[in-house]
Symmetry: C2
Subunit: 477 residues, 2 copies
């Protein structure tokens, strides 16, 4: 009681003394709370970096199952495997939510060959079909190629010049964009909408430059959208092949290409969102979603896109269980059924969430690769976003030492974005972007290109953020 005696001697009034003590205890509580958070988050990281299963899970997904388009047999195998793992780590409930998807099969052939170059003769180009590409006759189809820069350029060309031709979109990703996702966003339109737009003008097939910055010749797939049109064959060229074709078209007139692709549209199939949760101890109806998407393109192993995000989300539940953390709110891992070709997993889950009695207070998705952590991007309805960002800013200091330097407004991730209208605060996990498009939708998106510690740091960072969201929640007036 030395402090009280000292204060009395200094002439403190009883009321002043009371207020001083109240202030003191408030300071101590708040300090203790913050120290407790720092310590708990340190323990989450220590635990994940020494005892996690996520790297082994990813190995199984990539090497035993491999590429897994929604609706495919591999997709089903991945659903069963992840559900089994989520059960084995002691989730309170694990269930499969049915999702109807459009299933498309690549087939076994994708070829593009220059057949009449005076300079080079016949030249095989490195190519792959885009998702939902149409097929060619068995011997392929041969036509003259017209080079256009991008969608805008195509718009200005009269249909008469496109009719019966193969359109080659030459625009690639801009290497000066430091964040490669910005470069992707600025160029991907020619892949998603280029074939449709070209078909509308009478093109019989399209070739697009692969969405990558790596100077190799590995072609990158990805979805293209035909809506109600009959799909035409739509292929992507490796960067070096695209460079070659671009230069060839500048120097020779009338260049013709033979294209072959045996893709098949298989119609509707059943797939599932895989869902597992740890029930909240105090507010079981307040839900924090953590997820990735289980489907992937088929030419690689879906390692970075998005096996990494799935096993990181699973690891969040796992580390909570290993450490015996009892969350106040329900922490729910959702592995979405098909981000790549239709987003039906996301829309099905969002509809379920809307009709349930639960309140989805936050959702975190990892769908930007398993590389070294950088931060989180946040998104929310306009009326709550400022307040949500402000509340989250308090956590930056705790997360920064782990490489999570930002927690800023500016977007989240595709699957969880469907929850935005329900007032959910969204977080997109953002690892470093430099290597992502080296592998994205390509045969190189394999387990060997994921770094164990980088993957684990992402899982730990997501667990840390969820620990804080669960503890403090969000309050909006």
């Amino acid at each position: 009681m030395k402090i009280l005696n000292t204060l009395s001697r200094q002439g403190f009034s009883p009321k002043g003394l009371f207020l001083f003590i109240a202030f003191l205890s408030l300071t101590i509580t708040s300090q203790a709370q913050s120290d407790e958070d720092i310590e708990e988050i340190r323990e989450i990281y220590d635990n994940v970096l020494t005892s996690s299963s996520c790297y082994d899970w990813l190995h199984f997904l990539c090497k035993r199952i491999g590429g897994r388009i929604a609706g495919s047999p591999e997709g089903t195998a991945a659903e069963r495997y992840t559900a089994q793992m989520l059960d084995s780590i002691g989730a309170d409930t694990v269930w499969m939510q049915e999702v109807e998807v459009n299933y498309w099969r690549r087939g076994s052939v994708a070829k593009a060959k220059v057949v009449n170059s005076e300079l080079l003769g016949n030249v095989d180009l490195s190519t792959v079909a885009l998702g939902f590409s149409g097929r060619t006759p068995k011997m392929g189809l041969t036509a003259e190629v017209i080079k256009v820069w991008d969608l805008n350029a195509l718009e200005k060309i009269p249909a008469s010049e496109i009719q019966g031709k193969i359109v080659f979109f030459d625009k690639g990703m801009d290497p000066t964009k430091t964040n490669t996702f910005h470069a992707y966003g600025a160029a991907v339109g020619q892949r998603t909408a280029g074939p449709r737009s070209a078909a509308e003008k009478g093109a019989i097939a399209t070739l697009t430059r692969s969405m990558t910055l790596k100077q190799d010749d590995i072609p990158h797939s990805g979805v293209t959208v035909f809506q109600d049109q009959t799909p035409i064959p739509a292929l992507a060229l490796g960067m070096q092949s695209a460079n070659l074709l671009s230069e060839l078209l500048d120097s020779e007139k009338g260049i013709k290409i033979n294209i072959q692709a045996d893709c098949e549209h298989m119609g509707k199939q059943k797939a599932h969102n895989v869902i597992a949760e740890i029930k909240g101890s105090t507010y079981p109806n307040e839900v924090i979603v953590v997820g990735g998407h289980l489907d992937s393109w088929d030419i690689g192993e879906g390692a970075h896109d998005d096996g990494a995000g799935c096993v990181q989300a699973m690891e969040v539940l796992h580390v909570f269980r290993r450490m015996g953390i009892r969350p106040k709110r329900t922490i729910r891992c959702v592995l979405f059924a098909n981000e790549e070709n239709g987003m039906f997993g996301a829309t099905t889950y969002a509809a379920y969430a809307k009709n349930s009695k639960e309140k989805h207070i936050a959702a975190i998705e990892s769908d930007a690769g398993g590389h070294t952590p950088r931060g989180f991007r946040m998104d929310a309805l306009k009326e709550i976003s400022k307040s949500a960002f402000k509340q989250a800013q308090k956590w930056r200091e705790i997360l920064a030492p782990y490489g999570l330097y930002y927690l800023d407004a500016g977007g989240s991730a595709a699957d969880i974005s469907k929850l935005k209208s329900q007032g959910t605060v969204l977080f997109g996990y953002r690892p470093d972007s430099q290597r992502y498009f080296d592998y994205h939708h390509a045969e190189t998106d394999v387990f060997e290109n994921v770094h164990k510690r980088e993957l684990e740091l992402g899982a730990a960072g997501m667990a840390a953020l969820i620990y804080l969201i669960d503890k403090y929640g969000f309050t909006f007036e």
Copy 2:
């Protein structure tokens, strides 16, 4: 002049008006300056990401020259190549500064074989000699192994128990340290000082666990320091071999190992710091150093350590030349002769700097790998450090969008640290640390493990920081 009329009507005094305008123009100037910086730095990045030579230079250093211990023929080849490149890009002066180094040759044999295990029989361990290791007789030497945790543990063991034995240091890097350099710092003492301390107690050889977090069996070399003692054979074990030996020693008594190594101490040799500069237009005697170290261990190609740092430093001069930036101060690229085994390049350069009429205002070194950028760590004499950090903080906002999130106190890099006592403000470039010790001092430190864009972003970041230092300088009262 609408603004003046408005102000007059609101009853501003002429003096108040003058002050207001002065304030306004100050604000505009400062704003314009900042916009100019933002634009200039954007251009530096654009230029490096589209037109740099650093990746090609690194290819030559790694593939045509390879590992280059200071004093070796490869070291000399690297000096000549880099000097020639620096001359070709139009540096104002290029010169070689002579440095005397202790040259050590690895030889062709490094073996460690368990010879008497009842459980396993004879087992070859994956091993490599540490730099400055002693040699064994041709048939090797065989002795009982004693396991100790680290240097502290060794200290507590009486010499009688060490005498005539091989000491195995079992301590590895701690995986829970998020920044792997901290894990390295906490464990590397057993490599640098372990063999010497063991020899003092009569050990005839040592084995240390490799300094890595990667769970493979590739051994990592690195310097060990014997001072005036006769070197004993000192080898490092791959992580899996170290795990195996550690477990074997726990389960069997009297385990013996045969060690072979044919390293040679070659005595003094001449090497050189390679130095090139762009002369300052206004303050030619104020020098900003940018550097890396040209020497490397010999078992890999010295790609991340530190070919990357060298070509990044060279690229800073190159991008200044390509863009026609005329710096006010002298920008000097220094490729230090031997960071790995003696630091004689750094001490020679620091002595030269001290005796010259120049003032070294700042020095930046890249010696933490060519991975994706994170920031810079700063160091300076106590009497100027606070002020220097404060001045540098203004630049953080401009650099953060490029992934350079911090510019903090906390160290720099080995070679430039010798300039600290001269009042130079030091900056250590800090890329992401997760992958560095996968390759560090190992046969896997090769060109293929360096990512082109990550390397370039580092070069651009160093150029951007130097642009700002050159423009604003540092002022100390």
